[in-house]
Symmetry: C2
């Protein structure tokens, strides 16, 4: 039984190694430009092994997408849990997506790739929709609590959650294109605009004037 356990863990480890390698490759090259050879090389195994652990290339990518979703979701939950104030929670949520330039870049590129697949491949579509919804639960709760407590103004919940999510995605996109402005500038802009919208500008007026 102990041996069986060990084997299982070993197998899971291998699978995770392959998934991480896939995720990194997708971020760097984009789905269609990644070969099984690339993934195998990065994971330190042979090409044959990739298909020993996963039935197909598609399954491998599906695993990577799921892994990424889970990872981001956990990160959000953890970051939000350690603060109380709705405004701080909102900032924590934004910061758990805008972590640092390299990581955010990887995440965003992989994310858009999976999104793109999601619109064309049924299997990926379900996953993405689920991912999107599960993140949504977090921000909805924060915003509801914020309105309840009076920290935020009286807003339509749907509008506010949509706005928060749209701004994070949209500003990441802008950061990629704009040669003017650092990653940190965009992170702070996201915080500022969201909080400004939620509170009606009653909080960080002074910050904005700087």
């Amino acid at each position: 039984m102990a041996a069986k356990q060990f084997v299982q863990e070993y197998e899971d480890h291998r699978r995770e190694e392959l998934i991480k390698a896939t995720y990194m490759e997708v971020a760097e090259k984009g789905y269609s430009n990644v070969t099984l050879q690339d993934i195998a090389l990065r994971a330190g195994v042979s090409k044959g092994s990739t298909l020993y652990y996963f039935a197909s290339k598609e399954d491998l990518f599906l695993g990577a997408a799921e892994w990424m979703s889970q990872r981001v979701q956990n990160r959000i939950v953890d970051a939000v849990a350690i603060v109380e104030d709705p405004i701080e929670k909102t900032k924590a949520l934004i910061n758990s997506l805008f972590t640092n330039a390299q990581e955010t870049r990887n995440f965003f590129l992989a994310y858009t790739d999976f999104v793109s697949m999601g619109t064309r491949n049924k299997r990926f579509h379900d996953l993405n929709a689920r991912f999107y919804r599960s993140c949504g639960v977090q921000d909805r709760e924060i915003i509801e609590a914020g309105i309840e407590s009076g920290a935020f103004r009286k807003l339509d919940i749907e509008d506010a959650t949509s706005m928060l999510r749209a701004l994070v995605d949209g500003l990441m996109l802008q950061w990629f294109f704009s040669s003017d402005g650092t990653f940190e500038d965009y992170r702070r802009r996201c915080e500022r605009v969201v909080i400004d919208y939620l509170t009606g500008g009653s909080v960080n007026k002074n910050d904005a004037e700087v």
Copy 2:
């Protein structure tokens, strides 16, 4: 000379046909899944002809990206020109991007694909950055005028333009994933949230309460 003119126009027509076909194929399948055969078939020519008019597959896609940019930009400029009020101008800008479900879907999918290429291919990156900047001129002018006239509250121009663009992109993304809410819902939400942010909620409070 007249004949030469005709030939030129005919050639341009053919090129445009190929570009349109490429755009549609990209929207439906995504860059990497489109073959020259697909494009030729849709344009009603042979595969050989695609490379008679364009040096390579990449050039064909570059043409499609440029065409799309130009088309969207013209549409924005036209839509914005026929109204005066900053709030109406802002709505017109949003509506020229949220046209209808089918067209917006095609635009958005092609757009994200070109964006994805832009991060990996120098030639596409320049194009996208230019596109992004040229659209930016429009919204910046509108927002500056709005603040000047007092229709909008005193906002940081950068924050406001960023916010407008991010919200359009972000809400399109959401519309793809959400099974709840029609295209029209998202179009109106975009209008509502942007105007609410720009005016500080002094305009369509009543709308939001519905």
